[in-house]
Amino acid sequence: MATTRETETGEGGLDLAGAFPDPDRFRWLLGLVVPALLVVVWHLLVVTGVFAAHQLPEPLRVVETLYGMAATGELWGHVAITLQRVFFGVVLGVSVGIVFGTVTGLYGLANDLLDPLLQSLKNIPSLAWVPLFLLWFGIGEGAKVLLIAVGAFFPVYLNLSTGIGNVSEDLLEVAEVYDLGRFESLRRVVFPAAVPSLLVGIRGGVGLAWMFVVAAELIAAGQGIGFLMSDGRVLARPDIIVGSILLFAFFGNLSDLAVKGVKQRVVDW
C-alpha cells in the first residue's frame, strides 16, 4: 500500500518534484545537470593547468579517443565481449544466488550450514579470486564468466535469503492456517513477498558484476572494457583509462535502469 516515490510524485508532502510543471516528462534531464557541470569543471581544471594533460586529458580528448576507436570498429569489439561476459555472468550468478538464497531463506539448517561460509566469501576482493580461478578454470571464457558470476551471486543470495527470512509473519500464519502446503505457500506468499528483496539483490548483483569485469578481464583477455582499462594503465594512456571508466559508467547505468524498470513493473502494489 506504500506507494514508492518513483511511481507517484507530489504526494506525501515529502517530495519537491511536484513543484515543477509537468515534472515527469523532463525530470530525467535533471540527471544530466550535475554530470554536465562536472565535465565543465573537468575541462576547466585541465585547460587552466591544475591537472596536466598527461595526467587527466580534457573531456574532448577522451571523446576523440573513444570516437577514434568506434570509427575503426575496435570499440564495439570491446563493448560487445564485455556485455556478453556480464550478461552470462549475471544470468549464472543470479540463478545460483536464487537457489542458495531460497534454500537458506527457507531452511534454518541450510542457513546455519552455508551462511557463515558464504558471508566470509563475499568479502573476498575480486582480484584475490583471479589466481585461483586461473588455476581452477584455466584461461577460457568460462573462467571470466564464472568470476563475474561470483560478483553477481552475493547480493542476490544475501537479499533473497534475508528477504525470505523476513516475510511478514502475519502472512506466513495465513498460509499455515489455510494449510497451503510447502509448495503453494512458497508460490503464493513467500516468493511474491520476497520479490522486492530479490530485485534489490539483482540490482546489486548487476552492479558488482560490472565491478568484477576488470578482474575477470585480467584473465587472459585481449578484448573488453576491463581489458581496455588495464591496458590504458599499462600504457600510461589516461585518455583510455577515463574513456573506459565512462564506458563502465554508461553501461552500468544502462543495465541498472533496465533492472529498475523490471522492478517497477513487477513490484506495483
Binding site: 500500500m1 502475519d170 500464519e173 499455515e176 502446503g181 506468499v189 511474491p192 513477498a193 513490484v267 502494489w269
Partner: protein
C-alpha cells in the same frame, strides 16, 4: 481472577458425555494458560465445543480472545494445558482442519481480490480449475464485492478488505471455523447479510464455529452458546446458553433475554 468459574454444563467432561457428540468434542481446551513474557494472556481456561455447535466468545479488549483462537489453530506452539481438535492435540496436527478469519484482514498486497480469496481454497483444489474460479466468484458475490474481483487490497475500503478476508475463510470449508471479529468493520445492513450468510454456511456444512465478537446482539443471534471471558489474564467468567429456536428472529424474546444475561456477565 484465579478462580475460574466453569459451570458444570461447560466442563469438558459433561459435554463429552452429551448424547449428540461423538467420542471427543470438536474443540477441547483444558487448563489452558498462555503467557507472552510477563503478560499472562489466558489463565486456566476450560472450554469444550461440540461437533456442529456454534459458540460465540465475548469479553473485554485484551482479555485473550484472539489468543485463544490462535492456540486452537496451532499458531502458538508454547502454552500450558491442553488444546485439542476432535481429540487430537493442536500441536500434533489437530489444527489441520481448522480455518480462521483473522482479526486483521491480512491480505496479500500483490494479489487481487480473486487471488486472495483463492488462497483459502482447501488443499486438494486446483486453483486454476474453472470450478474453483466459479467458487471464488460465488464467494466474492456472497460477501457483496462483485465488481471488485480484480482490485488489489490497497484499493479497497476497510470493510471491503474485511469481507475479502471473510470470503477467504469461507472458501476453506473447514470442519472447524474460527472467526475473530469478522464483521467489526461492516455497516449494519452488510453485517446482517453476512451474519445470515454465515448461518447458512454453518447449517449447510455442519461445521463447528467459534466466533469472537464484541457485538452482544450478534453473539446472541448467532450462537448456541456464548462464552464470556473476563479480566486480564483472561478466564472464563460465564457461559450463556441461547435457547431460541432456529431459524431465529432478531427480535426474538429469548434472544433479548440472552443478551441481557451476556451483558450482565460482561459487567456493562
Amino acid at each position: 481472577m484465579t478462580d475460574t468459574s466453569s459451570p458444570a454444563d461447560d466442563s469438558p467432561e459433561s459435554t463429552g458425555d452429551s448424547p449428540e457428540s461423538t467420542d471427543d468434542p470438536a474443540l477441547a481446551v483444558r487448563g489452558l494458560t498462555k503467557r507472552y513474557g510477563d503478560t499472562v494472556a489466558l489463565e486456566e481456561v476450560d472450554l469444550a465445543v461440540d461437533d456442529g455447535e456454534f459458540v460465540a466468545v465475548v469479553g473485554p479488549s485484551g482479555c485473550g480472545k484472539s489468543t485463544l483462537l490462535r492456540v486452537l489453530t496451532g499458531l502458538e506452539e508454547r502454552f500450558e494445558g491442553r488444546a485439542a481438535v476432535d481429540g487430537v492435540d493442536v500441536r500434533d496436527g489437530g489444527s489441520d482442519g481448522v480455518g480462521m478469519v483473522f482479526q486483521e484482514p491480512r491480505l496479500l498486497a500483490w494479489a487481487d481480490v480473486r487471488e486472495n480469496v483463492a488462497i483459502g481454497l482447501p488443499g486438494g483444489v486446483d486453483r486454476d480449475d474453472p470450478a474453483a474460479h466459479d467458487r471464488v466468484d460465488d464467494l466474492i458475490e456472497t460477501v457483496g464485492l462483485d465488481g471488485f474481483a480484480g482490485h488489489r487490497p490497497g484499493e479497497l475500503s476497510g470493510g471491503m478488505a474485511q469481507r475479502v478476508s471473510l470470503a477467504r475463510g469461507l472458501a476453506y470449508e473447514p470442519e472447524v471455523l474460527l472467526l475473530d471479529e469478522p464483521f467489526s468493520a461492516l455497516d449494519q445492513l452488510t453485517k446482517y447479510e453476512q451474519q445470515d450468510n454465515l448461518l447458512d454456511v454453518w447449517r449447510e456444512r455442519g461445521a463447528t464455529v467459534a466466533l469472537v465478537t464484541h457485538d452482544v446482539e450478534e453473539a446472541a443471534y448467532l450462537a448456541d452458546r456464548v462464552v464470556v471471558l473476563g479480566g486480564q489474564p483472561g478466564t472464563v467468567e460465564a457461559v450463556v446458553n441461547v435457547e431460541a429456536d432456529r431459524p431465529r428472529e432478531r427480535t426474538d424474546k429469548a434472544l433479548l433475554a440472552a443478551r441481557r444475561e451476556i451483558t450482565d456477565a460482561l459487567g456493562v
